[in-house]
């Protein structure tokens, strides 16, 4: 679906992403895991095509070259502070031209957006904003979606609903790539796992292997080592 060949992203004389080669397959449930500043967000933005790599290539297969095929939920809340939830969804719906009513309704239902439909973004709680952020990024019904820490501050019940929905979408063929520090989310949503540190992709593994301690971690920082072993507690 998507293939990275020696992809690097260099800025102010340091490699934020350093020579990454890897493949994302159709239908993958992939998580990118690593400490703060590892370059996870940068790699996601590269794959989503928001920024251009300074060297190396990214190949997309045909299905990703159509309009709206790629979805991206940024780590920041990319929302207009003083527009309402309704205005956001209408605006982006018009912009993407996705008129699938059933998808919209399903999304609004799952994220319980009706509860604060006519509220302005700056009147919402952190978790509510996250939900809107997710909805806006998913509105185009993408074939692959990159989610950058989508569940920060979302309460357990809502998180549960959202995970269910994403799993459903995945079973209908949508590829999911996400970043999180939350092991519960990783267990429920991911099967593949990339371990990243200092801009380098250290290891391509699976959640199962990590959970069963079958991965060999050598030459990694104590931070990443701690993070990987944290799943046991």
């Amino acid at each position: 679906m998507l293939q990275l060949n020696n992809v690097s992203y260099r800025k102010s004389k340091s490699d934020l992403v350093n020579s990454v080669s890897a493949t994302v397959h159709a239908g993958d449930r992939l998580t990118i895991f690593g400490p703060n500043g590892a370059g996870k967000s940068t790699l996601m933005r590269l794959m989503a095509g928001i920024i251009k790599s300074t060297s190396g290539t990214i190949m997309y297969n045909d299905s990703l070259q159509t309009k709206n095929a790629i979805g991206y939920i940024p780590q920041q809340l990319a929302l207009f502070e003083n527009l309402t939830v309704k205005e956001h969804l209408r605006f982006y719906q018009k912009m993407t031209g996705n008129n699938s009513k059933s998808f919209m309704n399903e999304m609004i239902e799952t994220l319980q957006l009706k509860d604060f439909w006519n509220k302005q973004i700056d009147e919402l709680s952190g978790g509510m904003k996250r939900k809107v952020n997710l909805a806006v990024g998913m509105i185009q019904q993408p074939k692959i979606v990159f989610l950058d820490e989508p569940f920060v501050g979302v309460d357990l019940a809502a998180k549960h609903d959202m995970l269910n929905w994403l799993n459903q979408l995945n079973s209908r063929g949508i590829t999911i790539v996400f970043v999180t520090h939350d092991w519960q989310v990783i267990r429920e949503l991911a099967s593949k796992m990339w371990l990243m540190e200092n801009g380098e992709l250290l290891q391509k593994t699976t959640v199962d292997e990590v959970v069963e301690d079958r991965v060999e971690l050598t030459g990694v920082s104590t931070a990443l080592d701690k993070m990987v072993s944290f799943h046991r507690t």
Partner: protein, 327 residues
């Protein structure tokens, strides 16, 4: 287009900048403008109840400047106390007939207050215009008395040809042209000062809209639109909207300020918006943009004044957009 501007106009700051500041500027600037205006125009009211033909004739003869003459058909003395009229001249109902018959008793009544200063000039001009007619009428009467074949009207029309030299009691008024020019020059340069203040305001307003673009960029909204391949839409909405606002403000301000415009002047708002937009594209950090543009605006202000006083006169000054007004 609509939604972007909806979000901008939902901000209170937008309203403060677009409504409150112009009002405050208007309170400071308008009296300045008004001051210079009152120097050059003296409001005079003329009352003629019977609307005689000679009234129009007399008023055309007395040049408009610096008087601003209003014709009315009834006397309203309140105009004097409100300052709407510096003086009121009431023409006798029979003025035309009286002049033609050479009777000059009380054909005009002159009302003024102790605050009226410059109305005397109007009185003198009026008296002179009336006297020349009285004299011509008398001459015509004498001529037609001794030469019955001559037509009175014709003689009156050509009165001055028949009756030279001019009567000694006609006062002659000449405007000293040098003085007039100086006052209109100070007026213009004052207006140009108002213009550059307005430009500074516009520059600040555009800076504010540019700041919003920066916010959208750091918030990731622009990235989101880039993914949907809609960034152009965004930039165009912003650009056209800001242009529309800038030109509307300029248009209103120009009406008030009455600064003489050359062809380049029409590009000043466009140039200013463009410069901000280019800064947004080229300078990634909001604060660098501010530093640059505050320096640019202040430099433009100074260069404009220096150029206006003709202290500098070189091509490079046109790098500073407001100087296009002087080009």
């Amino acid at each position: 287009m609509f939604i972007i501007w909806k979000s901008i106009f939902k901000r209170k700051t937008t309203w403060v900048l677009m409504v409150l500041i112009p009002i405050v500027l208007g309170i400071v600037i308008y009296p300045l403008v008004k001051d210079t205006m009152s120097q050059v125009s003296v409001p005079i009211t003329v009352v003629d109840q019977t609307d005689q033909a000679i009234t129009e004739e007399l008023l055309t003869e007395i040049e408009d400047r610096p008087f601003q003459v209003t014709k009315m058909d009834s006397l309203d003395l309140r105009l004097l106390s409100t300052g709407e009229a510096e003086a009121i001249f009431v023409f006798n109902d029979e003025m035309e007939a009286n002049i033609f018959s050479g009777n000059t008793d009380e054909i005009v009544t002159w009302y003024r207050t102790e605050n009226s200063y410059v109305d005397g000039l109007f009185k003198e001009k009026l008296a002179s215009a009336i006297m020349s007619r009285v004299v011509r009428a008398e001459a015509a009467s004498i001529v037609s008395h001794y030469r019955p074949e001559a037509d009175w009207d014709e003689v009156y029309q050509y009165g001055l040809k028949y009756f030279e030299p001019r009567p000694i009691f006609e006062m002659k008024f000449e405007q000293i042209s040098g003085a007039q020019n100086t006052s209109s020059n100070t007026n213009d340069s004052e207006n140009r000062l108002l213009f550059i203040i307005m430009w500074l305001y516009l520059s600040m307003l555009i800076g504010y809209f540019t700041k919003i673009l920066y916010e959208w960029r750091t918030d990731g909204i622009l990235e989101r639109l880039k993914l949907l391949q809609q960034t152009q839409y965004y930039y165009w909405s912003w650009f056209i909207g800001v242009l529309a606002i800038t030109y509307s403000f300029s248009f209103v301000a120009i009406q008030l300020i009455e600064v003489p415009l050359n062809n380049w002047a029409y590009f000043i708002p466009f140039g200013t918006v463009l410069i901000y937009f280019l800064f947004f594209i080229l300078v990634k950090k909001k604060w660098s943009m501010y530093a640059w543009l505050i320096s640019y605006s202040v430099a433009s202000f100074i260069i404009f004044l220096l150029a206006d006083w003709q202290i500098i006169e070189s091509e490079w000054m046109y790098l500073f957009i407001p100087t296009w007004l002087l080009g």
